[in-house]
């Protein structure tokens, strides 16, 4: 297949500049409607249905990330002060992994699934066929801007859909990069990048997509879900919440502290899956806090501000929110320094935090870790999106495990095959023949008692496997 066509020139004329000379793009709702129409027309031509097309687009995504690694590292450094290590590993590598997994498995995923046949359906073909939904809308969040936009995109492409991607306006440089470069790699009619402020998103959703994939906070998630309901659009919501981390008295404190410290403070605490707070047994609390302090020193040195491995808050709003929570809760035992000009908050650990403190009311999304004590707690009776023992975050990197929330942390899941399934409709197909009408006649009116007995008997016999009554 030939390389994707170069982007249309009128894209460039929408660039405006802020008073600081920074690029500032905004796609208005009217324009979004236009892009949606173009994507629908492209979908109806049927070219996304072909395996070759999907493979080419997926390979282009991998190439895109390889060829522009430096640009991504720079954009994320400017948006979040993200260290190169974290960008390459948790953003680019994860997406490439998903894309390659999809490329390797696409043929298998696209094959119709033959359902178990039994006595009653031996003469028929029972299949489940995965078909694309149409045009999907992917709304990314700012804490892992590339991962949250492109991993669902991989699933959408693999499933044969067209897509409109809305990266978060908070990470403006990354969003601009995606907007500028994607047209050089992906089909210009099928895939579009828009920049919408989070308040305009419900209006865009109401333009009517075939699926909306949203990651972000609960309030925005609820508004998007309500807008989607008005057009009967199915949604997948990956929402932030308070992820508890329980530390038992019987565990190896050093390793535990190291893993928790890594999970909480990478990306300056801005992650959907980081442990939000620690519940630890009273006997080990002092030890745990000391160990955490030790590892923070190991990771970021005496002054994390100078470490290139430590990030910054994405914007002043979030900085202020986190700082206020910090100042109004518990007692600072490690860190606590804040510098507004740099949007810097030092890795901070709080103790003497109660359940009614400000910091326990909402998800933290910053580098502050409250440590609460509990006497004993039965953790088996809990529910959550996912569960990880003796480590953090890793469960979200596995392509084989579904990643998603439950209840207020969201609905639906993705990663690996689950992404493909999220963006597909699994159509049941039952292919019969018009022979054997001599048997089928039993079901027609006038209804006779003896026919009913025969059918009840036959359906009981075939209960062993999963269908009933060929005679019907």
């Amino acid at each position: 297949m030939s390389s994707p066509p170069s982007p249309s020139p009128d894209r460039w004329f929408k660039l405006r500049r802020t008073r600081l000379g920074e690029p500032c793009l905004k796609t208005y709702t009217l324009e979004c409607g236009d892009l949606l129409r173009r994507a629908r027309v492209a979908f109806q031509t049927g070219r996304t249905l072909k395996e070759v097309f999907r493979l080419t687009q997926l390979e282009a995504v991998v190439r895109f990330l390889d060829e522009h690694e430096c640009d991504f590292v720079e954009a994320l450094a400017r948006d979040l002060h993200k260290p190169r290590f974290e960008t390459v590993l948790s953003e680019l590598t994860v997406v490439k992994n998903e894309a390659r997994h999809a490329i390797n498995n696409l043929k298998k995923w696209m094959k119709p699934l033959h359902m178990e046949r039994n006595l009653s359906t031996t003469m028929d073909e029972c299949l489940v066929v995965s078909e694309p939904l149409g045009v999907v809308f992917i709304i990314g969040t700012w804490c892992s801007p590339i991962q949250m936009c492109l991993v669902p995109l991989v699933g959408a492409i693999a499933a044969g859909n067209c897509a409109i991607i809305g990266p978060s306006e908070c990470t403006a440089h990354t969003a601009e990069l995606l907007h500028r470069l994607i047209p050089f790699y992906l089909d210009n009619e099928c895939f579009h990048v828009i920049l919408s402020s989070v308040n305009d998103l419900p209006k865009v959703v109401e333009l009517k997509f075939d699926h909306v994939f949203f990651s972000g906070n609960r309030e925005d998630g609820s508004r998007i879900a309500q807008a989607a309901a008005r057009t009967l659009t199915p949604v997948t919501l990956i929402l932030s919440g308070k992820n508890p981390c329980y530390v038992d008295q019987q565990c190896e404190i050093a390793t535990t502290a190291q893993r928790i410290a890594w999970a909480r403070f990478h990306n300056a605490g801005q992650s959907l899956v980081a442990p939000d707070y620690v519940l630890c047994h009273a006997d080990v609390k002092a030890q745990l806090v000391e160990a955490l302090k030790y590892y923070l020193m190991q990771f970021y040195g005496c002054d994390p501000r100078k470490s290139c491995s430590y990030g910054r808050m994405v914007n002043l709003d979030l900085f202020n929110r986190t700082r206020d929570m910090l100042w109004r809760s518990g007692k600072v035992v490690v860190g606590g320094q804040v510098i507004e000009a740099e949007k810097y908050i030092a890795p901070t650990i709080l103790t003497e935090v109660t359940e009614t403190d400000a910091i326990m009311q909402k998800e933290i999304c910053g580098p502050v870790l409250p440590v609460l004590t509990v006497i004993s707690r039965l953790m088996s009776e809990t529910s959550s999106g996912s569960f990880c023992a003796n480590d953090s975050i890793l469960q979200s990197l596995m392509v084989a495990l579904p990643f998603g929330g439950v209840g207020a942390s969201g609905m639906g899941s993705y990663h690996g095959r689950y992404s493909f399934d999220t963006f597909s409709h699994r159509k049941s197909c039952l292919l019969r023949s018009t022979r054997f009408e001599c048997v089928t006649y039993l079901r027609y009116p006038p209804y006779e008692d003896r026919n009913l007995s025969l059918m009840t008997w036959a359906s009981t016999v075939s209960q062993k496997s999963q269908g009933w009554c060929q005679i019907l």
Binding site: E131, Q258, S386, H425, L431
Partner: protein
């Protein structure tokens, strides 16, 4: 506190006691539900007769047999469905336990419909119980006799607190929708579906919507028209056309139209005698409002068969309409009644185009001998399901997920799919606190060397099974070499 609020609160408290979670309890409730269907057979049949004019045998065939099948399937397979599901391991997780654990969601709201008041209200309940949830059951007030029987007798068989039945009309439903649930399962129209979904969205509650649509039925000119028409007639006029998956309209070439009309006419006489009005196995329209709605749809089309009606009995004869176009009144909404319009198309190309111009339906029916044609329709149209050479029966195959897409709904159920739909499939990764050396590459301070190792471990697509096979082969080769060297 309103009555609905109290019921919901009681059900949630009952769920939080944890008693719906053990498998023995779920099996016990499922067996009780089965007993309910067998012991109350008479009351159920009587209620359906009063609601829809359906005969006792019709009720058994279309409502209770299916339900009994689903319950027995759940009882037999529950242990397997509820067990942890291991997933593919990678190099990084080779020493860990990686699996997906199905768990109950909590409190589920099931809103039933009136056309098959028992089947569509209780089948989701089977899934809810099997998955370990509590459930509030709201049967449709339109099939009022069935709702009364359900309200009176179900609490005598199932746990009253965990599975309450709430009857009532629009105000009661609206009050219920204000409460917070962990999943809402709704069967009914697209208009109300939007209201339900929006109410659910306020609480971030996921939904399963089984809605409707106009299910097209394409008859290829080279197929066994006699058998095809028989099956279509059966599928259409069961329950007086009030089936969400009934063939809504026929698409066929002009050359076979008169033959199709003739065959359908013959089948109607065969099934329902010359006077369906007096015949026991032919039903009635549910109420006056729907009767008037369906009668109005006939406007502008020519009646080829049937057409008579009796408002006092809500009776409409099995009717076939011709000279119908895409713009006719009967094509503006889902019929949900015993009117079968025939629209002529020049061939399968035009049929596919016609279908794609409209909203995605619950099912597309194709009658043809030509496998290639069938596969083409599968690939070029989208619908909840596709059924070739028959009508309705895919509903009975529990292995096939039953649900809509686009305007015809979201989510699916039946058999194992009900269980999965009403469970949360929780990802679990159980690691050890050992082997911390391997993890050192991820911790700061970040160096280029660590990054290199990390790339290797994360990017390398390692097939763990193949690794094992290779290791085994190497060992075998070593053993063979050793043997050869030693003994030969």
């Amino acid at each position: 506190m309103s009555r609905e609020q109290l019921i919901v609160q009681t059900a949630r408290k009952a769920f939080q006691t944890g008693r719906s979670k053990p498998l023995e309890y779920r099996l016990h409730q499922l067996k009780s539900l089965l007993r309910f269907l067998t012991e109350r057979r008479g009351d159920i049949a009587d209620a359906v007769k009063r609601d829809l004019g359906k005969s006792e045998r019709g009720t058994e065939l279309f409502e209770t047999i299916g339900l009994e099948g689903e319950i027995k399937l759940a009882i037999e397979n529950l242990a397997e469905w509820a067990a942890p599901r291991p997933v593919e391991k990678s190099l990084l997780t080779i020493t860990d336990e990686v699996y997906v654990q199905p768990e109950p969601l909590g409190l589920v709201l099931i809103i039933g419909a009136w056309n098959y008041p028992w089947a569509v209200t209780l089948q989701p309940l089977v899934g809810a119980i099997a998955a370990g949830n509590a459930a509030v059951i709201k049967p449709s007030e339109v099939s009022s006799h069935s709702a009364k029987v359900m309200e009176e007798f179900l609490p005598q068989y199932l746990d009253k607190d965990l599975y309450p039945v709430v009857t009532g009309g629009v105000p009661e439903s609206q009050e219920l929708l204000k409460q917070r649930f962990d999943h809402i399962f709704y069967t009914g129209s697209s208009t109300v579906g939007k209201v339900v979904m929006e109410a659910a969205a306020r609480h971030l509650t996921p939904v399963t919507l089984e809605l409707g649509g106009k299910s097209p039925c394409y008859i290829d000119k080279d197929c066994d028209i006699t058998v095809a028409c028989r099956r279509i007639t059966w599928g259409k006029f069961v329950n007086c056309g009030q089936t969400c998956i009934a063939p809504d309209y026929i698409l066929c070439e002009p050359s076979i139209q008169s033959r199709v009309v003739e065959e359908i006419n013959r089948c109607i006489k065969e099934f329902y005698t010359d006077n369906p009005k007096t015949f026991e196995d032919y039903g009635r329209i549910i109420n006056q409002r729907h009767f008037k709605r369906v009668m109005a749809l006939m406007e502008g089309s020519t009646v080829a068969v049937g057409g008579d009606s009796d408002e006092s009995q809500c009776y409409i004869a099995p009717t076939v309409l011709k000279d119908v176009t895409g713009e006719s009144k009967v094509m503006t909404e889902e019929i949900f009644g015993p009117l079968l319009p025939i629209i002529t198309v020049s061939g399968v190309n035009e049929a596919i185009q016609f279908i794609n111009e409209r909203e995605k339906p619950l099912v597309v029916y194709v009658f043809s001998h030509d496998n290639k044609l069938i596969k083409r329709v599968i690939a070029e149209t989208s619908s909840g399901a596709l059924l070739a050479n028959d009508c309705l029966v895919h509903f009975t195959v529990s292995a096939l997920p039953f649900g809509g897409v686009g305007n015809s709904g979201m989510g699916c159920y039946h058999g194992r799919h009900s269980f999965d739909q009403l469970s949360h499939l929780r990802s679990c990764l159980i690691k050890q606190l050992k082997m911390e050396g391997v993890n050192s590459m991820r911790y700061p301070p970040h160096t280029a060397k660590k990054l290199g190792w990390a790339r290797f471990f994360l990017l390398k697509q390692v097939n763990v099974c193949r690794l094992r096979r290779v290791a085994l082969l190497t060992m075998l080769a070593g053993l063979v070499a050793f043997v050869m060297q030693r003994f030969l």
